[in-house]
């Protein structure tokens, strides 16, 4: 198949660190508007895959296309982000010495050049959007807090909020519910589903309940390549998956 009319297109991608093959001939396709869950044991190459998509790591071989025509291997992180790919990290990384609000201000889509930021003045609707997001991620009353003082869960949410502020076409979400209470987990699932209405989402997650709640197509990675793909039930019944993943 070819890259056309796909949002994200990986074909035959491989990368290795000092001999260790983290990604091995990986192929994956994401349609526009689709939400996909990626599962797989540690070291399956989930995060490395995200590194490749976001331009942090250059693949040794293979094609990576966005929107059918943009060759992501030719761009760096910043450019890729501006193309409309947002990423939430496994370990929540928010700007601890900024307030919640400023975190969003930084993430907010808009001019990114150094000088324009120097003389930037916040416009009315920017402020509105930020408040809107603050409500969505339930941090409105904590908006003047330093991010450092947020709880783990709240940081996860803030980071998702930052994703929203970025207003990307594609969201890469790495273990969004790690360390969340069940309640928070459910909320998160709901939130992601809402987001997926307007955007494409790639979720990496261990938590099977969460994946089930998302109720989307699942791809199982193993040793850097796709092991199985399909509905959660289909995948979790696949023998090889059971062996490598459920570890029997």
């Amino acid at each position: 198949m070819n890259a056309h009319d796909t949002l994200l297109y990986l074909d035959g991608v491989s990368v290795s660190f000092d001999g260790f093959r983290a990604i091995n001939n990986l192929s994956l396709v994401l349609q526009a508007g689709e939400m996909r869950a990626i599962i797989g044991p540690n070291g399956a190459g989930k995060t490395t895959m995200m590194d490749i998509i976001t331009g942090k790591t250059r693949p040794d071989a293979g094609d990576v296309y966005f929107n059918g025509e943009v060759d992501l291997t030719k761009h760096d992180e910043a450019e890729i982000a501006l193309l409309g790919i947002g990423r939430k990290f496994q370990k929540p990384t928010v700007f601890e010495s900024h307030t919640v609000e400023d975190n969003l201000v930084l993430a907010l889509s808009g001019p990114r050049s150094a000088f324009s930021t120097l003389f930037h003045r916040q416009s009315r609707d920017e402020i509105d959007r930020i408040h809107e997001i603050l409500y969505t991620i339930r941090l409105y009353d904590k908006r003047v807090w330093l991010a450092a003082n947020l709880s783990h869960g709240q940081k996860q949410w803030l980071e998702i909020g930052m994703l929203l502020a970025q207003d990307p076409k594609l969201l890469l979400v790495d273990e969004p519910v790690a360390g969340m209470t069940d309640a928070e987990t459910a909320e998160t699932a709901k939130l992601l589903r809402d987001i997926a209405k307007t955007r494409s989402v790639l979720v990496v997650e261990h938590d099977m309940h969460f994946v089930r709640e998302l109720g989307v197509k699942v791809t199982c990675l193993h040793e850097g390549s796709v092991l199985a793909e399909g509905s959660l039930d289909f995948v979790s019944n696949d023998q090889r998956v059971i062996e490598v993943y459920l570890g029997r």
Binding site: F17, D18, F20, A22, T47, T48, D51, K56
Partner: protein
Amino acid sequence: MQFIRLLSALVLMLGIFHHTVEAHAQTVDEATLRPLVQALAGDNFDDTTKAISDLVRTGDTRVSALLNALGAGDLYVSKADKSVFLGKREGTDYVATDPVTGAKLAPVPRSAAEKIKVNNRLRREIAAAIGGLTLMSENAGERRSAAEAILKTRDPESIPLLDQAIAAEKDPGIKALMSQAKAAAILNSDVPDAEKIAAITEVSAGNGRDALGLLTPLEGAEGPVGEAARSAISSINSELAVWNAVQNIVYGLSLGSVLLLAAIGLAITFGVMGVINMAHGEMVMIGAYTTFVVQQVIRATAPGIFDYSLLIALPAAFLVSGGVGVLIERSVIRFLYGRPLETLLATWGISLVLQQAIRSWFGASNVQVGNPSWMAGSFELGLLTLTWSRLWIIVFALSVFAILQLVLKKTMLGLRMRAVTQNRRMASSMGIRTPWVDALTFGLGSGIAGIAGVALSQIDNVSPNLGQGYIIDSFMVVVFGGVGNLWGTLVGAMSLGIANKFLEPFAGAVLGKILVLVLIILFIQKRPRGLFALKGRAIEA
């Protein structure tokens, strides 16, 4: 080395006596000798020189003893009656003996006499003169130095003597040297060309550089001699050109190993532990001062074992510097892990304190650290001069590196060190007592800096500023090689050293250094994590 030659000469005096008797058996009466001896105390060096040759010409048996005494500055004139006497200092007086008869004289107060001045030129004359007299000595060393002396003066008059000596000589080495000397003397004389050309071939067979010195004067000469000289010179020069490249590499390695020594301790405290250790240089300095103290003690108690002083200094320096290191780690650094920058400030403060401490303790000026005999001097490798100290330092640096690798890779301590530095929390949860490992690691790094100080004390001056001279280069080496990678440090040090030495000849020492720095800056652009950076996700952590 005068005094050594003198001692041996004095000892062998009697021996020389009867052999010279055979050589040209004659003694002259006191009446003729006395004025000549008096003449030694001329107002200027020229008179003295003349007096020396007059004395030698007498061929008297007592002359070589006299000349040795003169060379050693044991001949004095009394201010009162201008009489020359052999003096030995004893308190405020000179114990005087008559230079001619050897009779004991009344001691002369120091203020009442003055030494007969000798300078390099006179020493050469004396050496040559004695050489003439000792060519036939039984003692091989005597004969060798005699031949060397003539090789220097190239005095044509000594040619017959040499012929005599060469005929008698058994030792091939000395024989060769003598014929070299003869050839040199011939080139310096006005013998027919044929002989000279023969001499030229003779000379150019020997050490290239000396030969060059002998031949260059003839370069301009017309006729066959000039041609012979020119061709010989050109061949020698082409040979030298090759050796220059070799020399650059060898000198580069030697400089590199100095850098390695200076940096390797830092590769641990900074590279492995992440402490920006500005006091590293002072650890080196402490090591050097330990060497000094050890040598002082040895000088005072057991001068006999001075040659082993460095071997004793090594463990001492390791312990002292290491101890100081542990002290610093426990008292300051341990509060600063994970804040590398603060360690920079704190250790900077520490380095100031240590410098001042040494300064107030040992004084601000250089202290003298002696070279044991096996470290002094040099040897010829082809046309290239290698000094023993440099060679030893190369060997030493490499072995320190090897040992360190072993410690880190093979020992329990090393294992724990790596465990702790890679994942402190995990290590401690595995029951490793991280505080101690930290302390020991820092101690190890400092200790190694200390033994580096022992080596550096052999080639550099030992002063409170010693450390400052090395700290920057050390950081350059570690960073250039790649932080946290000992192999990187090794390769980095060596390549910087060699680069420096290849740049020095045409760029000059100053520009060369600048260029190397610029190269480092540019190189880091290509490899932002140094020569031996590790790839992978880990680095982004």
